[in-house]
Structures are given as structure tokens and as C-alpha cells.
């Protein structure tokens, strides 16, 4: 079937993309960065973080879950939307316990990088100081719930594919446990035990914050060589560009 091309505008710039791809990808194809914390190229979007919120024909929609269509007028980089994104990021900072100074993900953390990009000096909301715990019982992974932003990337991306027919989805190794305010990420008892070194490292890499850490490797990368030390988070160094390239390569 022939792919249909959609014509649309982003911040008044004429753009084209294949009809049906998400706005976040359509924007990237046109050289425009829409920030996100939960979206990951190649897996089903969750729309959970709301950082990618854009306006489509004057309505607020998440760019990761909305397919692009002919004639859309999309707003991305406006004062109102950037303030909205900023407020979402600030809420995440106040809801969890994020102490960048001693966090080994500092410099590689997408939440921190976005805070810098938006010039957040201090959150406008009061800190919640929610009591969260850490789970260090896994031999390979140190899981710090203080920093989890519940983006579900780990659930959606880290899958066990052993003994499954090719093309099937795989079983999630990470899962949500409990509900509402108490909800937290947990490793599947059985699958977690068999977690390979590669998957453990991947889990750490795709976690946008310092919640999933591979044990005993912290602070290996010197300051100055970390991902966001030299450049602010952007289209060029976003995790999704990397994921897209990897997917393409495969």
C-alpha cells in the first residue's frame, strides 16, 4: 500500500510526514524537537508524562500518542506550552526525592537535562517529601524509588524474549506494584532473577532518571564526558534519536 503524505504546520512552518506517525516523530522528521520523558521509539506510547503536550488546532494533546493528519495546525514552541511543560517537570521534582548532587545519573539524566533546558531554578510547587524506599535486594540492580517518575519505560521496553516465538511481544520483567500513591515499579520475581547483564544495563540506560542503577558501576564516566555535560538536551542527543537509529540498524 502506498504511504499517504500529510501536510501540516508546526509553529507556522510547513511540514510533511507520513500520515499516521505520531506528532513527536513527524516533528523530528522535520527537524523539530518535542521534549518527552516517557516516550521511547519503537514501543507503544504511554502518554504518561505529559511533557510532550502540544496544541493541535487549539486543543491540548500529547504528541507521542496523537497521529499526524492532513491540515493539522500544531503549536510546539510557545510560551504557554513551554510553561506547561516546565510545570510538569517541576511537579515531578516535588513529588519524588531528586537529589542531583549525589546521584550517579547526574549529567545523563533526562529529567535534570530538561530542567536545565527550561531554566528551572526552583519548583513553583511545594516539595512533598514523600517517603519512598529503595530496593537493593537484586544482585545486579539497585532500584531507588525516590527517583522513579512512573514513566513505564522499563515495563514497556525491558522484555524477556527467551523461549518465545519470533515476533511475539516478550514478557515484561518490570511491572507496577500496588496502586495510586503507593504504586511502584517492581521486578518480576521469576524473570527478574534471570536478568542478563545486557538487559540490566539497558534498563539503566532507558530509565530517564536515576531510579534503575546497575550496581557497582556508579560515577565511572568523568564529569565533562557525560551525555548532557556539553550540550543541552535536544533533537541531536535525545534518547529517541538513538533508539530510532538502533531500530533502523536492526
Amino acid at each position: 500500500m502506498e504511504k499517504k503524505i500529510a501536510h501540516f504546520t508546526i509553529d507556522n512552518k510547513e511540514c510533511t510526514a507520513t500520515t499516521g506517525v505520531s506528532i513527536i516523530n513527524a516533528a523530528r522528521e522535520n527537524g523539530i524537537f518535542i521534549p518527552t520523558l516517557c516516550h521511547y521509539e519503537g514501543v507503544k506510547p504511554a502518554g504518561s508524562c505529559r511533557v510532550c503536550t502540544v496544541k493541535v488546532n487549539k486543543r491540548h494533546l500529547t504528541a507521542c500518542t496523537t497521529p499526524v493528519a492532513e491540515g493539522m495546525e500544531i503549536e510546539v514552541d510557545t510560551a504557554e506550552l513551554n510553561d506547561l511543560r516546565s510545570s510538569v517537570i517541576e511537579l515531578l521534582f516535588t513529588e519524588g526525592n531528586h537529589y542531583c548532587p549525589a546521584c550517579e545519573k547526574s549529567g545523563n539524566c533526562e529529567l535534570q537535562a530538561l530542567a536545565y533546558r527550561f531554566g528551572i531554578m526552583a519548583p513553583r510547587f511545594p516539595y512533598q517529601f514523600n517517603e519512598r524506599d529503595v530496593d537493593a535486594s537484586h544482585p545486579k540492580i539497585y532500584h531507588d524509588h525516590n527517583r522513579c517518575i512512573l514513566c513505564k519505560r522499563c515495563i514497556r521496553i525491558i522484555k524477556d524474549e527467551k523461549d518465545l516465538p519470533a515476533g511475539s511481544q516478550g514478557r515484561s520483567i518490570f511491572a507496577f506494584n500496588q496502586r495510586a500513591k503507593k504504586v511502584k515499579i517492581k521486578l518480576d520475581d521469576r524473570l527478574g532473577k534471570e536478568l542478563s547483564d545486557e538487559l540490566a544495563q539497558k534498563a539503566m540506560d532507558i530509565c530517564p532518571v536515576g531510579s534503575i542503577l546497575v550496581k557497582e558501576t556508579g560515577f565511572k564516566t568523568p564529569i565533562g564526558q557525560r551525555k548532557f555535560d556539553k550540550e543541552a538536551i535536544s533533537l541531536d542527543n535525545s534518547i529517541n534519536l538513538k533508539a530510532m537509529k538502533e531500530a533502523h540498524h536492526e
Binding site: P101, A102, E104, V134, A136, S137, Y142, L213, K215, E216, T217, G218, F219, K220, T221, P222, I223, G224
Partner: protein, 484 residues
């Protein structure tokens, strides 16, 4: 009427402290105390954190000498990852850490001598406080002020090149280091544009020493008699008795120079050193167990190190050490103001050490980390600018820190500082009905000699054992509360 004088805050020291002095009807000092009113709590909130985070987290208890805490914690973690104590790292790992440490000693001592202490020497203890500060130094003794600033900068640049950042870097990791020096970095320190190169730093260090020695000649009474009292002295020394600020065995000598702690392996420090808690300060009182709580206290820091080591393993500093020791006929020196002299000798030694390390190709090597058989407990000691710094950690099988005990330099100097305060308070205040600003500054000068970093000296949270006693006029205890 009896009166109580409070000096709060004590100025030109790092952190917050207060001094109270009680005087009776005849204007005689009956009691004086240095209180540490800040509260940190790191020993408590490090619990549950992964062990590899300790060197980065714990250094946050200080913005002045974070490198010391960073390295002491890393040394403790070396034990935990099975890289041994002190001598197990790769040559690059060990030398990069040493370079970081000597850069830190150099910049911290420079800050202390030029910025915090020199105003008292240059303008006099009684001078107008509006001039008696670093701005006054900058206006009237420009050369000295510039040297102070540039020496500090040089040390900070060394720290940045080794730790990644000037303050709160991440260079030292369990078992080693996360980077080595590039050739450009090394060359910039060896041959950098004037004045930022190591030869200039050595020249200025010698100059600062000459300045002090000249000052000493002209002001013998102040430098020799001010807060002078005998004490024991404790520090790390290299196995052969040489000065080694990064690693060694623990030695203490008494006021006559007799060894009272015999070059022990510091992993066993707890068998030799106890800590007492008192109800009027957050700071603990360490003591040598064998001698007991009453008399087991000791001094640490530059003065103590001059007294414990047999020699300094760099030629220029060794010459100065010989002069220093000759001044007291080879006996331990108990003069608090000689701490400045000792500090300047260490500035020179640090500069010489940096030069030696920078000229060593290992500093550019690629073998950064060593790991062996993991253990659950580790102790890391080093000689921080202000004295011996102890870090002790125990972890559980899940890699989480279960217990942390820190004895920082200022805590080790707790009794000596209180004695110095008392001696000066008595000398300057006794018999005076009217107390002047200059008299009170004299008390601060005594504290400043020790360069205390009050901010890092208090860190037990939640389990802080506090004993409060209600005492009547005849000193009978009528009520006692204990929390801990």
C-alpha cells in the same frame, strides 16, 4: 555581677560556632567554651545508600575541603571492593588521587593563611575590624593578596583536572579513579603561563614562609606565647616515618616526643581511639583509649604533623622542617600560632609533591580501577588540611551502607581548641571590667589558628546521644535527661 560573654558567630572560620565565657564578680574567667551550633547528620542519612555513592554524597558535608571527604570515603570503599588499603590501587589510580589531595591541601592552606589568618598578623589583633580583613589585605598588601588568590586558583585547577569539578567532583571511585590527566592538562600545570605554573607556586610558597619567619622574628611574644600549651600529637605517617598526607600508619607522640601510638594499621583505629559525647556541643571528643578520657586527647593538623613525622620527603620542605624542629630543640612544639608556620611548610611540601607527581608519566596512564574480593567493612583515613580525617563504613550484603562513623579533623582538635580559647580568654580578659572588641578577637585568633571547619564536625542525626543535666548552685545534679 558575674557575666556571660558570647561571641557569636565566630568570624573568619568555616562554619558556625559560638564561644561562651563566664566571668565572676572579680572579672575572672571561670569557664569558657567553644560550641558547635551547626548540625549535619550525614552519618545517619547515608544509611541505606549504595556504597559507591559515599565518596560523592559525603563530601557534600563541606564546601571547603570536600576533596578530603571524597578521598577518605573512596579509601574506605577501596577496602570494600577488595582493592586493599592504600597500596592496592593501580599506579595511575593512586597518583591521580594523590595529586587531587595535594592540590586540595595547597588551596585550602592558601585560603586559610592568606584570606582568614593573615589580616590578624598584618594589621594586629586589636586593629579596626573594618580593615582587619581580606579586603584590607588586598588594599595594603596587594602582592600577598594576589599570591593568595592565585595559589588557591592553582590548587583548584588541579582539583578540577583530577576530580572533574573544582568543588564536589566525582574523580575517586571505589578501587581507583575515573580519569587520568591528558598531556595538555599536565603541561599546563608544569609550564603554564605565569603565574599559574608549578615552579611559580613553589617560589611563592617559599616567599610566604620567609614572610612568616620575618614576622615571627619581630613578634616573638605573640607567636610563641599565644595559646601555647603542651599536648600529645597524632597523625598518619608513612611506614618509614616520613610525612605522607594521603596514606600511612597512625602515630601519636606525647608532649615529650615519646611514641604513645605505635604506627598502627588504621583499619583497627576503633581499638585505639574512643569518642566521648558532652552535653554542651554537637561535637564529639575523641581520645586515645590506652590513656583514657581525661588525658587521652591530642592535637591533629599541621602542627601535630610536624611533631609526629621523622622527616619530610621533599627537599625544600625538609629544610624548613629541620628549622622548625630545631626551634624547640627537637621536642614537640605546642605553640598554637606555630600552626601557621607548619601550614606554610605544608604548602611548600604540597607544591613539591605536585611537581613530582606531574612529572610522573603514570599520571597519564589508562589503568584506572582495581577490584578484588569484596568485604563488608572499610576504614579510610587521610591527613586533611586541618588534620586526621577518619571515615568508617559497614555495608550489608545488598551493597547498602548500614553504619558510618566519621571523625573529622576539627573534632579531633576539640579539646585543644577549647584549651586555646580558655588560655587566651584568661590572658586577655582576666581583671578587665570593660571588654573590648580586640580582646574578643584574640579569642577568635586562637580558634583560627586551628583553621577549624565547624560545618563538617557534627553529623550524627537521630541517634545523637544528648545528656542534659540541671545543676544547682552547689553543683549538685538535681535532674538528668538522656536521649539517644
Amino acid at each position: 555581677m558575674p557575666k556571660k560573654i558570647t561571641i557569636e558567630p565566630v568570624t573568619r572560620v568555616e562554619g558556625h560556632g559560638k564561644v561562651t565565657i563566664h566571668m565572676d564578680d572579680d572579672n575572672q574567667v571561670v569557664q569558657s567554651r567553644l560550641h558547635i551550633v551547626e548540625f549535619r547528620g550525614f552519618e545517619r542519612f547515608i544509611q541505606g545508600r549504595p556504597y559507591w555513592e559515599a565518596p560523592v554524597l559525603v563530601q557534600r558535608l563541606c564546601g571547603i575541603c570536600p576533596v578530603s571527604h571524597h578521598l577518605a570515603a573512596a579509601k574506605a570503599m577501596d577496602m570494600i571492593v577488595g582493592a586493599g588499603t592504600g597500596d592496592g590501587l593501580s599506579p595511575t589510580g593512586e597518583k591521580m588521587r594523590r595529586l587531587m589531595h595535594y592540590g586540595q591541601i595547597f588551596q585550602s592552606h592558601a585560603l586559610h593563611f592568606f584570606h582568614l589568618a593573615s589580616p590578624d598578623l598584618l594589621f594586629g589583633i586589636n586593629a579596626d575590624p573594618n580593615i582587619r580583613n581580606i579586603i584590607g589585605v588586598a588594599l595594603e598588601h596587594k602582592d600577598l593578596a594576589v599570591q593568595g588568590v592565585m595559589m588557591r586558583k592553582f590548587g583548584q585547577e588541579i582539583i578540577q583536572a583530577t576530580a572533574g569539578k573544582k568543588i564536589h567532583g566525582t574523580g575517586a571511585i571505589p578501587g581507583g579513579i575515573n580519569k587520568s590527566l591528558s598531556k595538555e592538562e599536565r603541561d599546563s600545570f608544569l609550564k603554564g603561563e605565569d603565574p599559574l605554573n608549578i615552579d611559580k607556586m613553589i617560589e611563592w610558597s617559599l616567599g610566604a614562609l620567609e614572610f612568616f619567619k620575618g614576622y615571627h622574628k619581630a613578634n616573638r611574644e605573640l607567636i610563641d606565647d599565644f595559646a601555647s600549651f603542651p599536648s600529645s600529637h597524632l597523625s598518619l605517617v608513612r611506614k618509614d616515618g616520613a610525612m605522607d598526607l594521603y596514606h600511612g600508619v597512625l602515630r601519636a607522640v606525647d608532649s615529650e616526643g615519646k611514641k604513645i601510638l605505635h604506627d598502627i594499621d588504621y583499619q583497627d583505629y576503633a581499638s585505639y581511639i574512643g569518642e566521648e559525647v558532652k552535653n554542651w556541643t554537637y561535637m564529639k571528643f575523641p581520645f586515645l583509649k590506652e590513656i583514657g578520657k581525661q588525658d587521652g586527647w591530642y592535637r591533629v593538623g599541621p602542627l601535630a604533623r610536624m611533631n609526629t613525622v621523622d622527616f619530610i620527603p621533599t627537599p625544600l620542605a625538609q629544610k624548613e622542617h629541620e628549622l622548625f624542629r630545631a626551634y624547640t630543640n627537637g621536642k614537640p612544639n605546642g605553640m598554637s600560632m606555630h600552626m601557621h608556620w607548619a601550614r606554610l611548610i605544608e604548602i611548600l611540601h604540597s607544591a613539591e609533591m605536585m611537581k613530582e607527581l606531574l612529572n610522573d608519566d603514570d599520571i597519564m596512564g589508562n589503568d584506572l580501577v582495581v577490584k578484588g574480593n569484596k568485604t563488608l567493612e572499610g576504614v579510610g583515613l587521610l591527613e586533611a588540611p586541618r588534620g586526621t580525617l577518619f571515615h568508617h563504613y559497614r555495608i550489608n550484603r545488598n551493597d547498602q551502607i548500614e553504619m558510618a562513623n566519621l571523625i573529622v579533623s576539627t573534632t579531633n582538635n576539640n579539646i585543644p581548641m577549647n584549651l586555646a580559647v580558655e588560655s587566651v580568654a584568661k590572658k586577655y580578659l582576666n581583671g578587665h571590667a570593660v571588654i573590648s572588641e580586640g580582646m574578643l578577637n584574640a579569642v577568635e585568633v586562637a580558634i583560627r589558628a586551628y583553621d577549624p571547619c565547624l560545618s563538617c564536625a557534627t553529623h550524627a542525626l537521630g541517634k545523637m546521644p544528648l545528656e542534659i543535666s540541671l545543676v544547682d548552685k552547689d553543683s549538685n545534679i538535681i535532674d538528668k535527661k538522656y536521649s539517644g
